[in-house]
Symmetry: C2
């Protein structure tokens, strides 16, 4: 074994360190199967003390660390770089350790009256949901990968999902955070305080850093009372402006009870119906856009369905809604949600496409989409946009399928970068963001270098150099 | 004029720069009248471009800058240091410019459908409230100084107030932020995006930095639908554990409709009744603690008073509430709020005391308060704690009045530091924070150096050195 690796291995129990390629293999390829990287060893620390020892030793011996949670990231941020890029300039033989948080998966505390939960960074999101539900509470962040995604990874990408409209992104749900910084010191900010105004809130830097500023080891989360009333509707709208007008009308009636306001296009629904068994169309065909709406209330027996019905009827009268249905049972509500939640899977089964994750101000969505549709149609005739996502947050997965009949991989290889750049240029013209909830990883790092706010980029580089002067934490990510 | 100051003055219009001592004077003493600092000039830039020019010139010529908003800070952070400390070691003659954001006070945009507002850093909080209300919306952060406090200062201290329980602190209400960094470059993150996952969220560092990492020039805020129903109650409780049990009971009934849950002690109410004209006791005397509770709902005619009544009746049956009253008109609700909001002013009129701003986990409040009361009584016999604040957030203004009959200033000079240190030690034993919403400024900087998380402090120092290597931004604050 490389003596530098051996020096790191020496500070860990044997169960926490392995160089077995078979053990490493599942950690090296990303969920979408688009990138396979290289690491020399797998560390699976059992707790924060082992992470501290590991990071200290790695810093002393010049060993790079790639932290990994559930490995469900979509931008290549959670797997190491391929050789030789993993090692960076002038460090051609620097060893790389894949640090999996898989064993740090315990829920450490749940305070029902204080509405907080403390858990290890490797805790899976679905387990947090379950623990909260057992106390009549809810952790209001959910996304498709909830069965695998971990708290550490969700923090590291400032994950979003389908309830951001009401409850905010991961950042707004983190009350406390513990991390091991690149020099091996511990950031001890785990206490679930509702207020703290003592200087720079360093934990905010770890949120969204994609592992480049240290290893998140544990998190304290904000919980909310579990909703005891719920109503779900599926509404067909003629265009995006009508969808936003419907949202505004709902806001006036339902205030903050709107949990989700999701967008599904006709093409997206068709893909789901084709690829996902047991799904069926909730309305007659022929509508260009659909909104999936959920209202929720902590009060039992809140008249949410009546509220939805009144809002939808009023909107129909104004021509904003062409047709709609309200779920009359939990099973129906789940069936409607399934049409939205399986859309990424249906898209994956349909074949390769260009995936994007952009956001603009909510009010700008219709103009942005029209401009992007137009620009793409002109530059890439036949390419098929598939636009869905979190309309209430201005966050669209503005994906692009190659033209009908084209070899998808060939087309993406030839045109993908240019199409993405064109879309991103349009996003920047609307002062939006090229990554709303996925992060930069490696997939979007170069584009962010091209388009990001120069003031922010310079500050990011200065912060990275100050906290990780050796560049050992998740090298190759975020920065280009 | 000092040639370095002259070089800075040269980049600004004459109306934006003055060395007139009469113009400077109102900016040099803090609101509590406890500290008067020194500055050589007053800059009142009209907009971001002037701030950029000023900061660039100041950096080039080694001139320090103290940013100031409404100057309502409570920890000495918003005024410059007295001579010679203002200048720092080895920089005995470094000039200091007081940068007032007073002219950058325009509301630049209000998006009623997108629920956001963009305004200059010098905009006064009450003006934001008014602008939002005119659109049927609300900016849900309020505090006693709302008629003077500015957005820049509220961000710089991550201010809290009386609605944090439901809506979070300033940090959770900031969607976008523009700032000029210490090298004069612009952080251009003003767009009101609901989601953005593009690397380190640098604006989070400016929030809570108290002007030590740059000058905040504009802010994009999150608005919420204005409440159209509201109910306010005043409840007497036998002890803090009962108050928390009442809060838990309310949560089960009212979910997220609880806007405020404030604590007023018998002594605090007595001070208000004595010093604030037109106030009267809402209940018969003799109760040790009072809770001021507000429920709010965006829906009109929500049955909030009935909900409060049922919660209070149930709590009374369990012995958690000794007596209570529910406001039956807006005037009565305002009268109850006035008892809470004028408490700091009543305290000020009563004479000097030791002011604190601590927080622990909500569940720890009763045990912490008991331990602190006991420790203070033993070490400082006769000293009179006055504990009030934001119980729902675990945030107590755990203030201490000198013993009856003592010369207050003498007692505070002799015992103040030791009493504060004892209280802070107790806070740390409960893993709380010594500043929940006021910041560190100069008043708490040394205590934070003594008690703060070493990992966080080291990271803070590294960040400060990376972004402000010359130490020109608000010198003497936060760090000791």
């Amino acid at each position: 074994m490389d003596p530098r690796l051996a020096a790191v291995a020496a500070v860990l129990p044997p169960a926490s360190f392995s160089t077995d390629p078979a053990a490493l293999a599942p950690h090296l390829t990303d969920w979408r199967g688009q990138k396979t990287g290289h690491a020399d060893a797998l560390a699976r620390p059992s707790g924060t003390e082992e992470v501290e020892a590991l990071v200290r030793a790695a810093a002393a011996h010049g060993v790079a660390i790639v932290p990994q949670g559930g490995n469900t990231g979509l931008v290549g941020g959670s797997v190491p770089e391929p050789l030789p890029a993993a090692q960076g300039e002038g460090r051609a033989d620097r060893p790389v350790i894949l640090l999996s948080t898989v064993r740090m998966n315990r829920i450490l505390n749940l305070d029902g009256e204080g509405l907080s939960l403390v858990a290890g960074a490797g805790t899976i999101l679905a387990d947090v949901h379950e623990a909260a539900a057992a106390h009549g509470l809810s952790f209001p962040l959910s996304l498709g990968a909830k069965g695998s995604a971990t708290l550490g990874g969700l923090c590291s990408t400032n994950a979003g999902g389908t309830q951001v409209l009401r409850h905010g992104t991961m950042r707004s749900l983190v009350l406390g955070l513990e991390a091991v910084l690149p020099d091996g010191s511990r950031l001890d900010q785990l206490r679930p305080l509702r207020k703290d105004s003592t200087g720079y809130d360093v934990k905010q830097l770890l949120i969204g850093a994609e592992g480049t500023l240290g290893v998140i080891t544990a998190v304290a989360l904000r919980l909310v009372p579990a909703p005891r009333s719920r109503a779900v509707a599926w509404a067909a709208v003629p265009d995006l402006a009508s969808a936003l007008a419907l949202l505004a009308r709902l806001r006036r009636l339902a205030g903050e009870r709107i949990d989700s306001f999701e967008l599904v296009p006709a093409d997206g629904l068709a893909l789901v119906l084709r690829h996902i068994p047991g799904t069926r169309a909730p309305l007659n065909a022929g509508h260009p856009w659909h909104c999936l709406i959920e209202l929720a209330d902590a009060e039992a027996d809140a008249p949410l369905a009546a509220l939805l019905e009144s809002a939808l009827a009023g909107a129909a009268g104004d021509g904003l809604v062409a047709d709609a249905t309200i779920a009359s049972s939990s099973a129906q509500a789940e069936a409607l949600w399934r049409l939205r939640e399986t859309l990424p899977e249906a898209e994956r089964l349909d074949g390769p496409c260009l995936k994007n994750d952009v956001a603009v101000s909510v009010a700008d969505v219709p103009a942005f989409d029209a401009a992007a549709q137009d620009a793409i149609a002109r530059a890439f005739p036949g390419a098929r946009p598939l636009v869905f996502g979190h309309l209430g947050d201005g966050n669209l997965h503005w994906n692009l399928r190659p033209p009908e009949g084209a070899d998808r991989r060939d087309w993406l290889a030839a045109e993908g970068d240019a199409a993405r750049a064109l879309l991103h240029d349009m996003v920047m013209a609307f002062k939006g963001t090229i990554s709303a909830e996925h992060g930069l990883g490696t997939l979007k790092a170069r584009e962010y270098g091209r388009l990001g706010d120069p003031g922010k980029l310079a500050a990011m580089r200065a912060i990275k150099a100050a906290l990780d002067p050796l560049g050992l934490m998740n090298p190759g990510k975020i920065f280009t």
